[in-house]
């Protein structure tokens, strides 16, 4: 997994590339909770190049969502592949997160 961070509009964008599993989730957890602790609340997770996710990866987003919830903010996602979207669906994540098809929709 690699994480590319950047900006789109008012959002901090994290693009996650490759496999997000028990071997890589700690790296993301540190980076994402670090950003939130620094006061960033507009966050977009870009899944365009994410090929794999397991429950170890999903838990990172639950941890982050709970932190953002205190600020009444949701975590935003875009560009999920269908098979990853399905994992989000069965995990009940569709109700907890804001999920967009494209990056552009998020900043609209």
């Amino acid at each position: 997994m690699e994480i590319q961070s950047g900006k789109i509009g008012d959002y901090t964008e994290l693009k996650i590339i490759g496999r997000l599993d028990s071997n890589t989730s700690l790296e993301l957890e540190k980076e994402l909770t670090g950003i939130i602790e620094q006061g960033e609340t507009n966050i977009l997770i870009n899944f365009e190049e994410l090929n794999y996710i397991s429950s170890s990866g999903l838990r990172v987003f639950l941890v982050a969502a709970k932190m953002l919830d205190k600020e009444n903010k949701k975590l935003n996602f875009c560009c999920m592949k269908d098979f990853i979207k399905e994992v989000f669906d069965i995990s009940g994540f569709t109700a907890i997160f804001a999920i967009y098809k494209t990056r552009e929709e998020v900043i609209k």
């Binding site: 599993d21 028990s22 794999y52 999903l58 838990r59 941890v63 919830d69 994992v87 109700a95």
Partner: protein
Amino acid sequence: MKKLSIQNRIENLEKVAEFVELFGEEHGLDSKTSFELNLILDELVTNIINYAYDDEDKHIIEIVLEKSNNTINIQTIDDGEEFNPLKKNEVNVKASLEDRKIGGLGIHIVKQKTDDISYERKEGRNILNLIKKL
């Protein structure tokens, strides 16, 4: 039928991923099915490595994949503590964010992504058989 034996080290999940990929190629599975097989085994084997052993010894975990006409049979065998995932309480994935538990997603995903699960404890080993329809 394809078998893999690995030691209880978290790095070996890479071997599981390669094993599933090869199985998928050999049987012409589509990428979504391969992904889900990898996910199911990843969740099960991660749990065995993380939770099944109380000691620091080396243990062997066995994985079997077999394709029949329109199903895939998945088996995991380990010599860890007795653990029947069917008896585990379901996590509530409909809870509000505040009440939502962080853990418990692994077994939930395995149940959702398979069509039948049976568990057996035999000669000090956990034997889990799962069926996934194609």
